[in-house]
């Protein structure tokens, strides 16, 4: 049990953590992805702008002289390279028609797109391309040469930049984002774990308290600092403990009583037999023997009833109820007691007021109940008692014309080991307790009527509403 319970606690912790941590992780992941995307776009735009500026600078250094394009390369290079330390730059100048004018002829041109991806000037196009087996970013600027003749007024300047610097920056951004968001996640997880641990701690303390309880300790548990949500649980548990304690107490008393009850006839039996052995006179020995026989019968009856009580208590788990015809049952049970009643001089009879009385229940248990009622009547009445088993619509009863039960005893006759009979008359004090138990399991009412008529007699009835 304790292992089981600590597992349950662990799983609660795990569940809380997973409920909080997984969504948190998702949210942080989305946040990191969006932030990263924005940063990369901003970086790209900045680099594109500087690439554009490079093309622009180059354009301004171009001159149309003597019908040829002149470029102050050194000056241009100075401009070009001062801002581009991390990557290599290439350039190419062509006519609008695509004829090479200057620079690296093999540099690809940016394709002309109707809708520019970058919202700069209409005169510049950006694109990704490959040059010398390296990925490059291309910027193609259309430039108007003022000094040139109208035929050559438009030229295209393409500038390419290798991607190292961008990639470095992007990587940098990536690591930065991952690092900060990771730290955030870690901090959140730690906080959550700590919080959940703290939240569960009273529960763990409660578990410990419960685990260290002695087997026979049914006192209520009072764990300190228990959250309000758990208080009803504790209250329920405490009331359960209390009921269990009471039940076990009753059991204990029952067992003590039973032990006493069983020892009594056995002690008497031993004495009787020892005396019979010692007595040489056959007459006295005979008397002792018949007394011993009587004692044995009592012990047998008591044992049967103790066993019946246990059987009845566990009947719910062992038998499934079905439809029982009480008329047939009454015939059967009466028949079983007929010979004994007759031998004791009692008049046992059956009175059927209905042809059939069907109830829902366990045949074995109803048999036991009726049998106990008849047995009780035979046992407690004097010889010659008239006993009637009666069956009506939804009830059966056993009536006798014995001495009856005094009013002060009537409320108690169904208690275990309670004996209304005068001392001297043996009895287990269990017979009616068994009847009561069976009745309550069957949802039937037990009632006692006494005296029945003429100041004598008892009738005990089981009735279904």
């Amino acid at each position: 049990m304790p292992a089981n319970r600590s597992k349950a606690v662990a799983s609660l912790r795990r569940r809380l953590l997973s409920w909080i941590l997984w969504p948190l992780m998702g949210l942080i992941g989305v946040n990191a992805w969006v932030g990263y995307g924005n940063a990369v776009q901003a970086a790209n735009e900045a680099y594109d702008r500087s690439l554009y500026l490079a093309a622009r600078t180059l354009a301004e250094e171009l001159e149309w002289r003597d019908g040829r394009l002149q470029l102050d390369v050194l000056k241009a290079a100075g401009y070009l390279f001062e801002n581009h330390t991390g990557s290599r730059l290439f350039y190419k100048v062509t006519s609008v028609g695509g004829a090479w004018l200057a620079g690296d002829a093999a540099l690809p041109s940016a394709p002309v797109r109707d809708k520019s991806a970058v919202k700069y000037f209409a005169l510049v196009q950006f694109d990704d391309g490959v040059y010398l087996n390296q990925p490059v970013r291309l910027a193609e600027l259309t430039h108007v040469m003022e000094e040139a003749g109208p035929a050559e007024a438009l030229i295209k300047i393409t500038v390419a930049e290798t991607m190292e610097a961008r990639q470095q920056l992007i990587q940098h951004i990536l690591w930065d984002t991952l690092g900060s968001q990771g730290l955030l996640l870690l901090a959140a997880a730690l906080l959550v774990v700590w919080g959940v641990q703290r939240g569960i701690r009273p529960l763990e303390a409660f578990r410990q308290q419960l685990a260290h309880k002695a087997d026979d300790d049914f006192s209520p548990i009072q764990p300190p600092d228990l959250p309000r949500e758990l208080r009803p649980l504790i209250e329920t548990l405490n009331s359960y403990l209390e009921r269990l304690g009471r039940l076990i107490d009753i059991r204990k008393r029952f067992l003590d009583n039973a032990a006493h009850q069983l020892r009594t006839p056995l002690t008497a039996l031993k004495t009787q037999l020892a005396l019979a052995q010692r007595n040489a006179e056959p007459e006295q020995a005979q008397a002792l023997m018949s007394a011993a026989r009587q004692t044995t019968d009592d012990a047998v009856r008591l044992t049967e009833q103790l066993l019946a009580m246990t059987r009845v208590e566990h009947a719910r788990e062992m038998h499934s109820p079905q439809t029982v015809d009480v008329v047939a049952l009454a015939k059967r049970v009466t028949q079983e007691h007929l010979m004994r009643a007759h031998q004791l001089g009692d008049d046992l009879g059956l009175e059927l007021q209905v042809a059939q009385c069907e109830v829902h229940g366990v045949d074995l248990l109803l048999h036991e109940a009726l049998s106990n009622l008849i047995d009780n009547a035979i046992h407690h009445g004097p010889a010659g008692t008239q006993i009637t088993v009666r069956v009506g619509a939804h009830w059966f009863e056993v009536e006798d014309d014995g001495p009856g039960i005094a009013p002060e005893h009537q409320a108690h006759v169904f208690e275990r080991f309670y004996r209304a009979a005068p001392s001297g008359l043996s009895g287990s004090g269990l017979g009616l307790a068994i009847v009561k138990e069976i009745a309550s399991q069957h949802g039937a009412q037990v009632s006692v009527r006494s005296p029945v008529h003429g100041g004598r007699g008892t009738a005990i009835r089981l009735s279904w509403a």
Binding site: V300, R311, K331, T334, Q335, L338, M339, H342, Q343, L344, G345, D347, L348, G349, L350, E351, L352, D363, L364, A383, T388, V389
Partner: protein, 230 residues
Amino acid sequence: MVEDTPDISLWLGTALRQGGMAVSFATDGLQADQCLQPGHGFDAVLLDLQLPGRDGLSVLQALRERGDAVPVLILTARASVPDRVLGLNMGADDYLPKPFDLSELEARLQVLLRRHGRVKPAVLRCGPLEMQVDSGAVQLHGQPLALTKREAAALRVLLESPQRTVSKEQLHAEVFADEATGLEAVEVLIYRLRKKFESALASPAEQPEVTITTFRGMGYMLTLPAGQAV
């Protein structure tokens, strides 16, 4: 007798031997199975269920699977209804829960033997009352009792049902068969039988008087005075 408790087998055996029976013992299931091989010659088997070696029910099952119809009376402390049903389903003829009365065991054993024709009683008896099975002649206290055919038929039904009540309806069915008489006819018949018993009572010996007792709501039964075994 298959019984592993020496206290029980010894004293029960003694009692049965005193009653004129020959008793052999087996103390465990395996021994019982050996004793009950074909040609065993026993008239009846008293079988305990909780046995060392082999369970009583399996001994019984093996016995029945061999096609042996010897009557088996189960004696056991396992007295719950499912156990009882199981035993009877497996081919036991009767079931007596421990602790039982010696007289009850003897009576049940007699019924079993009679029912299986192991002991063919020439005479049906209840105390001082005797009836020759074949001729139907009745004697009370050793004196012949003259009965009509119907009275004898009714008495036979009662004698064949020792210690159990016979309902009025049952008697009517057995004696008047398909005659168009009412149930009062049974009452009249019983009344006449009682009269005949009473008039024969002037017997010199102090023998127990046998009577036909009416049990309210249950029927009739031949009884002896309180304290007398039937």
